[in-house]
Amino acid sequence: MKKKYSYLPLIFFFILVLFFARQLILKEDPSELPSVLLEKSLPKIKLDKLSDYKLFNKKNLLQLNEPSLVNVWSSWCAPCQIEHEFLMTMSRSNNIKIFGINYKDDKQDAIKVLKLNGNPFYAIGRDDDGTQAINLGVYGVPETFIIDASGNIRYRHVGPILEYDMNNTILPILNKIK
């Protein structure tokens, strides 16, 4: 085999290793999907009212004219319960309005959770069959979207928001878009 061709496998392997190293260093979770709706306007979604809580629709989000969060949750989702505390803290101290989408849930169970653990939501809507959440590209619960003042999606957080996420992801983005 001619000398110069015999170096080809090595070069190819080297490039492969670089790609692997990049993946390992980034420590990304390969099953996590970035939202494809980033920088796009929040899609119109039609939600049902939950009891006598204020109904969430795009109009009253835009009326705020300030950054807000949209949180997708259910009473049957365990990580949502964990996250609830942080949502309560955020809604009180950080002065940020949180809109809730109650996803494929039972009305009574949802009301029970809010009465028991407090209501962090400025407005809530029900998506009983999950079809509205599909428009947001939701693929699990909980998920949280950061929306800027003009109603554009700036970030989608998959999974519960914990202290680490609050400090290292959510707050910096919020500060950036203010």
């Binding site: 999907l33 494809v36 999950g130 599909i134 428009n135 590209g137 693929y139 699990g140």
Partner: protein
């Protein structure tokens, strides 16, 4: 000889036509085709067809509803890609972005033939160490090989 070839051709055609499929396919059949091409986002190593995850069932319902509304496979796929990204497609799109993926196999084979061709060109061959030929014998051998390989 010719007769045999023509006869087998006819037999082949008759087998083919005996199974002519209905050109109209029910929504269910098209739906199943679509399910096979879409990835379940919860159990990410299954297609929608295989998955029983709640989101998969919701998406399947969505597909059927859209098909009944008259949407085409491509329109439905586009709808889903707009919301979930290309990740939901099990078959990568045939675009410039994925050109390496789709042409890769062809490139590998072509490259394989290329290397082989270069390697086995007469000029590059070195006689094995054990044969010790005089210059005159080497020239004679070359001539013979020239003739052989033409």
């Amino acid at each position: 000889m010719k007769f045999i070839i023509i006869a087998s051709f006819f037999i082949f055609c008759s087998a083919y036509s005996a199974n002519s499929q209905d050109s109209f396919q029910s929504n269910n059949v098209v739906a199943k085709e679509l399910y096979k091409e879409l990835r379940c986002l919860v159990c990410q190593n299954q297609s929608l067809l295989d998955s029983d995850a709640p989101l998969a069932l919701d998406l399947k319902k969505l597909v059927i509803t859209k098909l009944e509304d008259g949407e085409s496979k491509d329109e439905i796929k586009l709808f889903l890609v707009e919301r979930y990204g290309e990740f939901i497609l099990l078959k990568p799109t045939f675009t410039i972005k994925n050109i390496l993926l789709w042409f890769g196999p062809l490139i590998f084979v072509a490259f394989g033939f290329f290397i082989t061709f270069r390697f086995f060109r007469k000029k590059n061959l070195v006689y094995s160490e054990s044969s010790i030929l005089t210059k005159h014998e080497k020239e004679k051998l070359e001539k013979i090989l020239d003739r052989d390989l033409k």
